[in-house]
């Protein structure tokens, strides 16, 4: 299990190169990468604020829960903070399990919880000004699935 909260970019290829290997019981690896998207055509950068200390603690708790619940062979969460340009990766998760359903569900669970339960806040820097991204009801509702 690996958890990292950092400003610098992560190396997806290096992180996934040996992820989930080492045993003979991993049949499925799922990864998710979140990327800064520009829907409006007006975005200059996304700024992520976080709560040092609580962030790592919240992510560890969520990840440990996923490891146990889906009997994962391994799990990885890397989440950046600071200022990110359009197209830059924001975060990634990876899960390794025996079967595909467990790997997919665990990755979705991690994403749903990271969205609404890890202390990050996104601020959009647009040419026309700045705005904090509002939490979506759909993201809160997504937690009910678990």
């Amino acid at each position: 299990m690996k958890i990292a909260v950092q400003t610098e970019p992560f190396d997806f290829a290096a992180e996934t190169a040996s992820f989930g290997t080492g045993g003979n019981n991993v049949g499925a690896v799922v990864t998710f990468t979140g990327i800064v998207r520009d829907d409006s055509g007006d975005l200059e950068a996304l700024e992520l604020e976080h709560y040092p200390g609580m962030t790592e603690r919240a992510i560890a708790k969520i990840t440990e829960e996923a490891m146990t619940r889906w009997e994962l062979a391994d799990a990885l969460v890397i989440h950046r903070h600071g200022r990110l340009a359009v197209g830059e990766p924001i975060m990634m998760v990876a899960t390794a399990a025996r079967h595909r359903v467990a790997a997919f569900e665990a990755a979705e669970f991690l994403m749903d919880y990271l969205k609404s339960r890890a202390p990050f806040w996104k601020k959009e820097h647009m040419r026309s000004g700045t705005a904090w991204v509002a939490a979506k009801d759909a993201d809160e509702d997504a937690l009910k699935r678990w």
């Binding site: 609580m54 924001i90 994403m111």
Partner: protein, 82 residues
């Protein structure tokens, strides 16, 4: 004495990221009432607590939670990670 932290627009409205607060508030809600009385900036930031979240010693909590033994209280909007 409790350390109070603010994040995102709560931090921006109040104007500081953290401060040490001398208080004998029994609950988070009591602490919010004390803070709102301090200054219009606090009053504005805490006007709608349903739009806010609170963490006690880095665990998500509720506004009715007791403050006894708590060292760090953080106020922030709903999180938008991922």
């Amino acid at each position: 004495m409790v350390e109070v932290l603010y994040f995102a627009w709560v931090r921006e409205r109040i104007g500081v990221p953290r401060e040490t607060v001398e208080t004998s508030a029994r609950t988070v809600a009591d602490l919010v009432t004390e803070l709102r009385a301090r200054d219009p900036r606090y009053d504005a930031a805490f006007a709608d607590t349903s739009a806010l979240r609170v963490a006690l010693d880095q665990d998500l909590s509720g506004f009715d939670a007791p403050l006894e033994g708590v060292r760090e209280v953080a106020f922030f909007p709903p999180m938008t990670g991922g």
